[in-house]
């Protein structure tokens, strides 16, 4: 097949491209330029948007022996990911921009362009496994390495998108991938994993949101009270976007709870800017509502009862 390898400049996407090439596919590497004003160097573990990352991706492509290009997706990324990230926070929700990027950029804008240009699939360094199930449906399974599993951030992909996707790393633990990268002579073998949000270069999400939301959404989301579930004001905060439901750290409440137990964010009300905190027990839910279902396998029968477990975020409990 003719496949397009999306290469971030990190170790995973480099090994994924190398594996695809080794399996006999005709591979072309691309690096997505997502930032409008790329920084020259990486700072810490953030991002894949610097010129240094583009160079790392280029050097990996050289070693693998595949052609390499940079695609400018900065406009689409800004509209579909950064703007969405801001408006979600403005609504009091905590978005996952990687999910959005996969849904709108990597497996939409990039994949569509790739298909248009005559490629058959996009290969990435995500940790997930695809298998063809009964009736030809493509099922997405968790990665072999559960600590690296990324099926959560890929869960939004449709059957059509999955049919044109390849995840060659899903069957291998990360430590083995690093060894394999070193064996293949890829200089990125020891490059740190990227965490955090790639478009917030200093890692200060709260500060970044404060700047952008104030600039773009007026001051609707400035400070407000922190209250307990009885409505008693326990403190003040400088922006409700700094909080996410279930958060315990960084609440900076002067007085401890009556029972001395830690308190958690229970609710965020963006219009009044009220952040409600309370005991862990108050976080427990017996009901979840979800919108826009995507079935990464056989859809359940309509109206039927389905036993399942639920993953609510990319990492953590």
């Amino acid at each position: 097949m003719r496949v397009l390898a999306a290469m971030s400049g990190g170790v995973d996407s480099a090994v994924a491209a190398a594996r695809a090439a080794e399996r006999g596919h005709e591979v072309t590497g691309i690096h997505l330029a997502l930032s409008r004003n790329p920084k020259s160097y990486r700072t810490g573990a953030r991002g894949c948007c610097t010129i240094e990352d583009a160079n790392d991706a280029r050097r990996a492509a050289d070693v693998i022996g595949i052609p390499f290009y940079v695609w400018d997706m900065s406009e689409r990324f800004h509209e579909d990911v950064v703007e969405d990230f801001l408006s979600e926070y403005a609504e009091g929700r905590t978005p996952n921009p990687c999910v959005r990027c996969n849904e709108k950029i990597k497996f939409a804008a990039v994949l569509d362009r790739a298909i248009g240009l005559g490629f058959d699939a996009v290969v990435t360094g995500h940790y997930a496994q695809l298998r063809t199930g009964s009736g030809g449906l493509i099922e997405m399974h968790r990665a072999e390495d559960m600590s690296k599993d990324q099926s959560y951030v890929l869960g939004v992909l449709t059957q059509d998108q999955l049919a044109h996707s390849m995840f060659p790393l899903g069957d291998t633990p990360k430590s083995v991938i690093r060894e394999e990268a070193a064996r293949r002579g890829l200089a990125v073998a020891a490059k740190p994993d990227s965490h955090d949000i790639c478009f917030i270069s200093d890692g200060d999400t709260g500060g970044w949101l404060a700047d952008k939301l104030t600039a773009e959404h007026g001051d609707v989301n400035r400070g407000g009270p922190i209250v307990d579930d009885s409505g008693e004001v326990l403190g003040e905060h400088v922006g409700s976007w700094r909080y996410t439901i279930g958060q315990r750290r960084g609440l900076r409440l002067g007085t401890p709870a009556a029972d001395g137990r830690p308190r958690y964010v229970l609710d965020i009300e963006p219009v009044s800017g009220t952040v409600t905190v309370g005991p862990r027990s108050a976080l427990a839910v017996d009901r979840l509502e979800a919108i826009r279902p995507r079935w990464c396998g056989t859809p359940p029968a309509t109206g039927a009862r389905l036993e399942c477990s639920v993953q609510l975020r990319a990492h953590g409990e």
Binding site: T28, H31, A33, P38, I51, A54, N55, R58, P67, Y69, V70, W71, D72, R76, E79, D80, E83, A109, V110, D112, R113, A114, I115, G116, L117, G118
Partner: protein, 405 residues
């Protein structure tokens, strides 16, 4: 077989230039040393300087060797700005055009942060300087102009600038003129003395010489302030150990390119016109950018710049590359991210059109079969790139800034 249609980026080294260079690589001798080996190296450098001076009709003492086009442009612009301003502090203006190479525009932008007032005079839809606007810019306050820098011919769309008129207007007020002639050398007749320009940038690797060597031809009366200080080589304008093998290769390339210029230009015009006609036949809605007149006062013989509406230039480049056909989208930044060309934007093109262009540039190794290969490949490539652009465009209404289709 690679079909190389990117000679404006760099052109293959001439065998005689490679031979002249490699013959020197094994020899020792710093051209500034006083012993016999040093004298031998110096002799080679001075013979090369004389050969270049003969080829370009300047005095040997007017040839200042540099590392290439970017350094020569920086030296001319910064150096002449500094020296002219130190002679008279009122001289803070620099007149230029918005279609210059980045090696000119970026020093200008930097000098603007150092007190220069940069005035980029408009160009027309062909990319040619508006000479009346230029005259008005000079005459509004000639005493404040430190220098004028206008390229001989444009690297993207090939348009030749009215250098003789620029010189005439500037010299009426005693203002020195620099020109970047990197693309012109070897393709157009160049005569430093007859042109009247005071400083001219040329480089080796665009004319079949080695990389990393070039020259600034600079009139004897002018002493640009040095960028590099050190051993005082090259009239104290450009310190640094002289590179005899590279200079020997550059000199041979320069002599050869100038000697063959007329014949090459005629051949390239034929090939280029066939390329353009062939592409327009295969892709009837393609647009030939720049000056359609082929003559030496109009357009570089080897330049064909075409716009393919509805396509992304970088998609076209990638699809052609996969077929072994190498060309350029015109300009690229450090990370290889395609940017809309500042040249096309200055010519009045929209950002979208500017991004759908390709530059094909022919040179001394180009053949009929190169042109034929491109003409054969272009229609399916354009069709595919158009489909890709359509399918990856955001759905209408989904974009907060509206539908840009």
């Amino acid at each position: 077989m690679t079909v190389y249609l990117d000679h404006a980026a760099t052109t293959p080294i001439l065998p005689e230039a490679a031979a002249a260079m490699t013959a020197q690589l094994g020899r020792v001798g710093n051209a500034s040393s006083l012993h016999a080996s040093g004298r031998d190296a110096r002799r080679l450098v001075e013979e090369s300087r004389e050969a270049i001076a003969r080829a370009l009709n300047c005095r040997p003492g007017e040839v200042v060797f540099t590392s290439g086009g970017t350094e020569s442009d920086n030296l001319a612009i910064k150096g002449l700005f500094w020296s002219r301003r130190s002679e008279d502090p009122r001289r803070v203006r620099i007149l230029s055009t918005p279609v210059e190479h980045h090696a000119v525009l970026d020093p200008l932008r930097w000098l603007a942060t150092e007190g220069a007032k940069v005035d980029l005079v408009d160009v027309d839809r062909l990319g040619r300087l508006d000479i009346d606007a230029f005259r008005a810019a000079v005459e509004s306050d000639p005493g404040s102009v430190a220098l004028v820098t206008v390229m001989w011919a444009n690297n993207e769309v090939g348009t030749v600038q009215p250098i003789h008129e620029v010189v005439e207007i500037a010299h009426a007020h005693g203002i020195p003129v620099h020109t970047d002639a990197v693309q012109a050398l070897g393709q157009l007749p160049l005569d430093f003395a007859a042109s009247g320009v005071d400083a001219m940038t040329v480089t080796g690797h665009k004319i079949g010489g080695p990389y990393g060597v070039g020259a600034l031809l600079v009139e004897r009366e002018l002493q640009p302030t040095a960028l590099l200080h050190g051993g005082g080589q090259e009239r104290d304008i450009r310190s640094g150990t002289i590179d005899p093998p590279a200079i020997a290769g550059f000199a041979v390339a320069c002599e050869t390119a100038v000697a063959r210029q007329g014949e090459l230009a005629e051949r390239l015009i034929g090939l280029r016109d066939a390329l353009v006609a062939g592409v327009l036949r295969e892709v009837p809605d393609a647009i030939y950018n720049g000056d359609p007149e082929p003559g030496p006062g109009h357009r570089l013989p080897g330049n064909a710049h075409l716009e393919f509406p509805g396509c992304e230039g970088d998609s076209l480049l990638m699809l052609l590359d996969a077929r072994g056909i190498e060309c350029s989208t015109g300009s690229a930044c450090d990370a290889g991210v395609p940017q809309a060309s500042h040249v096309l934007l200055a010519m009045g093109s929209s950002e979208e059109f500017a991004r759908s262009s390709l530059r094909f540039s022919l040179g001394h190794t180009s053949t009929q079969s190169d042109v034929h290969a491109l003409v054969q490949a272009i229609a399916p490539v354009v069709e595919r790139a158009r489909n890709a652009a359509l399918s990856s465009r955001p759905p209408t209404g989904n974009s907060p800034t509206g539908n840009r289709a």
